[in-house]
């Protein structure tokens, strides 16, 4: 059984397959290959569901990597390649959610949070200052007299 498994594994690795094996063959043009690798990081592997195709060894990921290379060789621009995939799989295939109405909230949120946080800090500082001032309540007439008496004694 084990021998069979090894033989099958080697056969899969060595044999010229009737079914295409998607192999990471880098493009001969280094600039194109660099663009391919950047794109690979921006496209989601749909069966791994939170990895980019650059990071996954799944069959689909490998296939998509090869397709990205092919499209670049055919002369597509980076956004053409992305559009090609989005046409087939939807916005979901891009790692960076596109900026449109529904994701605007997402991209703005961190700034809103920061504003809240800084606002909170400012409020905090102001409150402290007010507290400090409030805690200094003026003395009434009797206390003033006592204070004067004590100070006289000290002198």
């Amino acid at each position: 059984m084990r021998i069979l498994a090894i033989v099958m594994l080697l056969a899969g690795v060595f044999a010229a397959p009737a079914v295409a094996q998607y192999v990471d063959q880098p493009l001969s043009d280094p600039q194109l290959e660099h663009r391919a690798q950047v794109l690979h990081k921006e496209i989601r592997c749909l069966v791994c569901q939170n990895q980019a195709i650059a990071d996954s060894n799944a069959q689909l990921a490998r296939q998509l990597r090869v397709i990205v290379r092919e499209r670049l060789e055919a002369g597509d621009s980076d956004s053409d390649v992305k559009t090609y995939l989005v046409d087939r799989y939807g916005d979901w295939v891009l790692m960076r959610p596109p900026l449109k109405a529904s994701t605007l909230i997402l991209w703005i949120a961190p700034f809103v949070i920061l504003a809240f946080v800084l606002g909170g800090a400012a409020m905090f500082v102001l409150r402290r200052r007010r507290q400090q001032q409030a805690s200094v309540t003026p003395l009434d007439a009797q206390e003033e007299a006592r204070l004067a008496a004590i100070l006289d004694e000290q002198n």
Binding site: A18, V19, A20, L46, L60, R88
Partner: protein
């Protein structure tokens, strides 16, 4: 009770409601980007041992059709297969099979062993056509209307409920989505 102190509790409540709704959703299912779009241009030979390959024209025959993406190496495909056999036997629904990335001999043997419910099959040896259809897992099943416009996609094993509630009505022309050009 000052509002400031209530904010965390209120914020949590909003989040909890969101999570509650979230439990009813299905995050692993990505809806097809091709609903309401025409089928891609393609032409494939039949699976080994069969006549009649599959091409775009076969999907514009005037009546809605089912396209089932399957493979011999796909376990869940075995689970849904009997349903397709039953469909082929008891109805006159046109069913096409898109065989994804299968060695020809394997696919042929699978159909011989478990039965062939498909009116036509297309052997997508390298998986390119599947990508054009936006397929990312196997099995998947599409409903295409008579004019070649994709109406619906089901992901994973086809169950009787989905067949009755989603597929059959669309095969009868209900819930029709018009096609963009």
């Amino acid at each position: 009770m000052r509002l400031r102190y209530m904010l965390p509790a209120i914020a949590f409540l909003v989040v909890a409601v969101g999570l509650g709704v979230g439990l009813t959703l299905k995050p692993r299912e990505i809806p097809s980007a091709l609903i309401g779009k025409p089928v891609p241009e393609f032409s494939l030979p039949a699976v080994e041992g069969r006549t009649g390959g599959l091409a775009t024209a076969d999907l514009k025959i005037g009546t809605p059709v089912l396209v089932n993406v399957f493979a011999s190496w796909c376990g869940p495909c075995r689970v849904e297969h009997p349903l397709f056999m039953e469909l082929a036997r008891t109805t006159d629904v046109t069913i096409y099979g898109l065989n994804q990335r299968d060695a020809p001999a394997d696919a042929a043997r699978w159909l011989e062993t478990f039965g062939d419910p498909y009116d036509k099959t297309g052997a997508d040896l390298d998986g390119r056509v599947s990508i054009d259809w936006g397929v990312y897992g196997v099995p998947e099943t599409f409903v295409v209307d008579g004019a070649g416009c994709i109406q619906y996609k089901h992901i994973s094993v086809l169950t009787r409920d989905v067949l009755e509630e989603e597929i059959m009505p669309r095969l009868q022309g209900k819930k029709h989505v018009p096609c963009e050009k």
